[in-house]
């Protein structure tokens, strides 16, 4: 399967105007690829993930196309998307741990969910139990209430539920953020295992934690201010980034072994732009040490090396 997004624009309606959260975004995810989406708060990564599944509340579709396996995905049409959700495109939302209905036992909730989609719980149960065992959960979990499960257990349960129907595309939104470091590792590795076993064809893993992405993702897409900055293989993003923002971001991450006395790290001064009335041209312009007059025009997101896309005038092809 593959996902092709072209020129996607999704804005939020507000009293004061449109917040341009996803502004002209074009990228692809190949069959079997785990693509990480990295960026800081307000960069639009969650909005991007959400828009591929469900336009919530004030989000409005403004333009662009999305194609899943060659066929268009009607993300602007809530009703039409119903047949794709959960079966072809699935999401593990942010705070998935609160996504479980606290007044329902897990098994019962799942039964109702499947029934509402027209699937038979009974026929899927053997596969469900197999997968629960795979992630280290007992079948007993189905009989428990969400409050009886730990954070890691809830996260794993939600992962199994979201992928039960073998979707082509899985969007995982900040699924490791609220977890302890050991559970984080387990959950992240589980994502890879799901892909390796064919439960999911491709994934978009959204997180602000680039080091997790280095561990599990094949490629990383870096977003800034609602636009794409860079996309390349995980190794290249970490070891040889080309976009000024990516470079500064990677160099500001402390690693075990790096100490303040020996090597003082630096952040990026300034703050990301407000997306209500974003500056014209490259949105990183105000904080970029390499900014020039040319940056007043939005740089195109183009391929500067094999499989390596960058949106920056200063990066030569």
């Amino acid at each position: 399967m593959s996902l092709d997004v072209s020129g996607l624009k999704m804005y939020y309606r507000t009293v004061r105007g449109d917040v341009r959260a996803v502004d002209d975004v074009t990228f692809s995810i190949a069959d079997g690829e785990i693509m990480g989406v990295a960026g800081e708060s307000g960069c639009g990564k969650s909005s991007l993930g959400n828009s591929l599944v469900y336009l919530a509340g004030r989000m409005k579709y403004v333009g662009g196309t999305v194609e899943l396996d060659g066929a268009p995905l009607p993300i602007w049409d809530f009703e039409a998307m119903n047949q794709y959700r959960f079966s072809r495109v699935s999401v593990i939302p942010q705070y998935a741990m609160s996504a479980l209905n606290p007044t329902r036992r897990v098994g019962r909730m799942l039964e109702e969910l499947l029934k509402s989609r027209g699937f038979d719980y009974g026929s899927l149960q053997p596969e469900l139990l197999r997968r629960l065992e795979l992630v280290g959960l007992d079948a007993e979990v189905l009989r428990l209430y969400p409050i009886e499960l730990s954070g890691g257990m809830k996260q794993r349960t939600v992962m199994v539920i979201s992928t039960l129907l073998d979707p082509s595309l899985l969007i995982a939104d900040e699924i490791t953020s609220a977890l302890d470091v050991s559970t984080q590792k387990a959950v992240a590795k589980m994502l890879v295992e799901f892909r390796d076993r064919g439960f999911v064809k491709s994934m978009a893993v959204i997180t602000h934690d680039i080091s997790i992405l280095y561990q599990v993702a094949d490629t990383i897409l870096v977003m800034y201010g609602g636009q794409l900055a860079e996309k390349a293989s995980a190794a290249e993003i970490i070891e040889a980034p080309r976009h000024p923002y990516t470079k500064l971001l990677i160099s500001s991450l402390p690693e075990i072994g790096v100490r303040y006395e020996t090597k003082k790290l630096h952040g990026i001064p300034g703050t990301p732009p407000a997306l209500l009335d974003p500056p014209e041209g490259c949105r990183f312009r105000d904080r970029c040490p390499l900014a020039s007059e040319a940056c007043r025009r939005t740089p195109p997101f183009r391929e500067v090396a094999a499989g390596h896309h960058v949106a920056c005038w200063r990066v030569a092809a």
Partner: protein
């Protein structure tokens, strides 16, 4: 160098359940000290009791048993009146910058509260220059942060403003409880460097975090906390370089590195319920809860 802050056998037990019949031990028999001019990081996962320790030190939570000594005086039994004197020298900054400010008021009100309580007779002009000096020490521009509401400032600015507030007093000791975990990656490191600058000025800092890389970056000594008890402690280079307790090792193995992939073990974390042994020395100044 004598200790600035010393905890001795501190325990915190909560009463839960109906009529408080059950007991929940959040912190169990913890002892450590922080000296002036050093950063001690307290590393633990959620539920380890690290924030509870921070709150006990700041007396925002009463201590069930044990003593907390600041420069020799036992502050765990101080009354409200004497606590005010304690807070002149010991302050805290917390995790969520947007929760630390009352949304109804402007952000610089936190500075005003300090004036009202500790400097009531100082005139406006002197106070103004004091504020400016504090803001400069944390690299904030007065024009950008004064007279603004909290939602108009970024998380990084809000956290720095809290440090500036603490510096208005005669600060000697700071509890930094997960102060950068809610900040963006690009601004985190600058706030962390600020702690390093404060350390150079002679402050003692307790840096509470769940993130081992951050602890490793900034601290001189490290304590690893698990389920309310210290399992390993010592100089940072020792604890990270030669971890002795299995929990410490499992934590280090689980940290996602930037240039090195994880190993291939499929364990789901450290689960074993070992019988708690006492803390024994395993190296110079390096203690761990392992069998001798």
């Amino acid at each position: 160098m004598s200790a600035l802050l010393e905890l001795e056998r501190c325990t915190k037990v909560y009463r839960v359940g109906s009529f408080g019949t059950r007991r929940l031990t959040a912190v169990s028999d913890v002892s450590f000290d922080v000296r002036a001019g050093e950063v001690v990081s307290l590393i633990g996962e959620s539920g380890s009791g690290k924030s509870t320790i921070g709150r006990m030190i700041l007396r925002l939570s009463p201590v069930t048993s044990g003593t907390i000594r600041f420069k020799g005086d036992d502050v765990s039994t101080y009354s409200d009146h004497r606590l005010k004197g304690y807070y002149r020298h010991a302050q805290g900054v917390f995790q969520d910058p947007f929760s630390s400010y009352n949304p109804v008021y402007k952000a610089d009100r936190v500075l005003e509260l300090v004036k009202i309580a500790y400097f009531p007779h100082v005139d406006r002009a002197t106070w103004r220059s004091k504020i400016e000096a504090s803001l400069e020490a944390v690299s904030l521009d007065p024009g950008q942060v004064l007279h603004k509401f909290p939602h108009q400032l970024s998380g990084g600015q809000l956290q720095r403003l809290l440090v500036a507030r603490a510096l208005l007093l005669d600060l000697e000791f700071l509890v930094a409880d997960e102060i950068i975990s809610m900040l963006d990656a690009s601004t985190r490191i600058d706030v962390l460097n600020l702690l390093g600058a404060l350390k150079a000025r002679g402050l003692g800092i307790l840096f509470i975090t769940h993130d081992l890389s951050l602890g490793n970056y900034i601290s001189d000594r490290t304590l690893i906390l698990r389920r309310g008890a210290v399992v390993e402690s010592g100089p940072t280079s020792e604890v990270f370089g030669d971890p002795r307790h299995p929990y410490t090792r499992s934590l280090l193995a689980a940290v996602p590195h930037l240039h090195q992939k994880w190993g291939n073990d499929t364990s789901y974390g450290f689960d074993s319920e070992q019988v708690p042994t006492a803390l024994v020395p395993v190296g110079p100044d390096h203690l761990a809860r392992v069998a001798v």
